[in-house]
């Protein structure tokens, strides 16, 4: 199946919009937070995206944006970007660790550095920073005093 067909079919689903093809083999789609869990399940089970390559968190000041990159191991180069917008005051989304086990540490990293809370994650704790670190340092509004924090 071509990337354009992938994206067209996926964009028809509830909550999905802005389906486009960025370049050869790379599609892009935007999903609402409420529809994301059903969307991801379909993505894995019906479309065969069996590898969660990357989860990026973007701080857009007005809100957060999660960018998931999924790929298919048997189809080399096939990639799908899924963008999910999150509100600033409640940056939560359902975890996808039960679908892709590899998303575990990606989600922990997004929680650690950007403060995105993944509901249903089995072990949501810091992965890069020491336990007890105050705040999430990659947020734009993170203010730190140089080497004076106690943890």
């Amino acid at each position: 199946m071509e990337t354009g067909q992938f994206v067209q079919q996926l964009a028809k689903r509830d909550g999905a919009s802005d389906g486009s093809v960025l370049r050869a083999n790379v599609g892009r789609i935007t999903v609402t937070r409420a529809a994301s869990q059903a969307f991801f399940r379909v993505l894995k089970e019906d479309f065969g995206f069996d590898h969660c390559s990357l989860i990026s968190a973007v701080d857009n000041q007005t809100g957060f944006e999660l960018v998931y990159h999924f790929s298919i191991i048997d189809m080399e180069g096939q990639m799908l970007e899924v963008h999910v917008e999150l509100p600033r005051d409640t940056p939560t989304i359902d975890s996808i660790t039960h679908l892709w086990g590899g998303a575990d540490w990606h989600e922990r990293e997004a929680y650690d550095l950007m403060g995105i809370y993944f509901i249903g994650h089995p072990d949501l704790k810091r992965v890069l920073l020491p336990d007890g670190f105050a705040g999430h340092p990659l947020r734009k509004d993170y203010v730190y005093e140089i080497h004076e924090e106690e943890w």
Partner: protein, 213 residues
């Protein structure tokens, strides 16, 4: 014999000493004259009383020190075994210095993998907050005498990450550093010069090693 009591012959459990929490089984200290039966803290105290103080008082310690110091010092400064511990890019230069081109092994720099066998800790990269307690543990696990080399800008003062939220501003904020080697990254020649500087420091500053204090 009730169930609460210690199984076996309680006399054979003497070696546990005051480590046991049960006050009934805590034994008294062993006789102070018999050093074979002492615990480590008691042994140090015994050495103080029986050997160090006597040797100091009679002046024997000073005599032996003067005789043995050149030998011990020579052995120390030509075998500064560093810990094989790499943090970031300076670790590659450390590897290059140990390789055949520069061959620091001719100066006695043999990399060991256990801190118990090492004299020198090379901090060769930025120390992040999560690494700091581990690095301090490594330093404390090394046996005396020990030295620390801060290799590169990151280990000296944090380098380009000095104001980061997770990088410690210099290794000397938590362990004593003997030799600072500037560079980003440090060239292998500079690391060799650092080891030669350490040799010089050992030759000039280290005391004798007979009953060292």
């Amino acid at each position: 014999m009730s169930r609460q009591q210690v199984h076996g012959n309680p006399r054979l459990r003497k070696g546990l000493g005051s480590r046991t929490s049960d006050s009934a089984t805590v034994m008294e200290d062993p006789p102070s004259g018999d050093w074979l039966t002492l615990r480590s803290d008691q042994f140090l105290k015994w050495v103080d009383e029986a050997v160090y103080n006597v040797a100091e008082k009679t002046g024997i310690r000073d005599v032996v020190n003067r005789v043995t110091r050149p030998i011990f010092n020579w052995g120390l400064r030509y075998s500064p075994w560093p810990l094989h511990f790499g943090i970031m890019c300076c670790a590659l230069e450390m590897g290059a210095a140990g390789g055949p081109d520069h061959d620091t092994e001719r100066m006695g720099v043999v990399y060991r993998s256990s801190p118990r066998q090492c004299d020198v800790l090379i901090v060769n990269g930025p120390v992040c907050e999560k690494l700091r307690p581990k690095l301090k543990t490594l330093y404390e696990q090394m046996a005396d005498p020990k030295w620390v080399i801060a290799m590169g800008e990151c280990a000296i003062g944090g380098g380009p990450y000095w104001d980061s939220y997770s990088v410690v501003a210099g290794a000397d904020t938590f362990i004593p550093v003997d030799v600072y080697i500037p560079g980003c990254p440090v060239r292998p020649e500079a690391l060799m010069h650092g080891f030669l500087t350490l040799q010089k420091k050992i030759r000039e500053q280290e005391p004798g090693y007979f009953l060292r204090r």
